[in-house]
Symmetry: C2
Subunit: 124 residues, 2 copies
DNA sequence: TTCTTGTATCGAAGAATGTCAACATAGACG
DNA sequence: CGTCTATGTTGACATTCTTCGATACAAGAA
């Protein structure tokens, strides 16, 4: 997902060209996954871990939520392509998929040639 | 909103340090505003406009939605700090607030010293 | 003033989401 | 085999969200 290139041949442009309908739906799913404080904290805890991996057993006790709820949120982050999981023995480890956050960062970065720095330039 | 600095003294770190609870809630509201395909397209249409401004009368007919619905989505984007509006005569013009998208882009950009570039680097 | 157009707000219906308790599954250990 | 622990899944409920029609507000025109 999010792999399809935009009309400019590079990336699905967000700030430089009107987003197409299907790309908007795909992108919205990723942002929706980030639109919850619990999931944001989960992602942050996973991404900021030095080794790149966090055991679920370390994530669950950090919240005042039930274990199924944490598992549900991790599933949504995984479905959004933001994280991935791997089982090693008894425990399951989650890690960040930096490709997705990189892509989002690129989407939200406006190019240097964008003339948005002077919005009041009404000298048409 | 989003103005409070993180524990590192710079920005509320997302990928480098565990997000604090209140910051997660603040951030989640912004991402939630982006988590809808209609709002993403609205933001894209506003941001990509050369003059930096778009009249609501140009936005509404681009969707198969009622005028109150578009107005509602614009309100959510505005409350999230992503856009701003100004009335000039009969029409209302919306423009991007690049500070917010810049902040989000910075949040999702991992610093160069982050050792996450080799997730499979099992060479201990 | 009245009329018309553009935009925002209100109230409600249906859909989607967050959360939990209960249960299922996977693996380790006897 | 059985048992225990760690995660994931299911079903249900309360909350929130998306959308609409109806209405209110703002501003120009007659």
């Amino acid at each position: 997902m999010l792999g399809q290139d935009g009309p400019d041949g590079c990336c699905p442009a967000l700030l430089t060209a009107p987003l197409e309908t299907d790309q908007a739906e795909t992108l919205a799913k990723v942002f929706k996954a980030l639109g919850d404080p619990v999931r944001l904290r989960l992602l942050s805890m996973i991404a900021s871990r030095a080794g790149g991996e966090v055991c679920v057993c370390d994530l669950t006790p950090a919240f005042d939520l039930s274990q199924p709820t944490i598992s549900h949120h991790l599933k949504l982050l995984k479905q959004a392509g933001l994280i991935d999981s791997e089982r090693r023995g008894t425990w399951v480890y989650y890690r960040l998929l930096p490709e997705m956050t990189d892509r989002l960062a690129a989407l939200l970065t406006r190019p240097a040639e964008a003339p948005l720095t002077e919005p009041a330039g009404a000298a048409s």
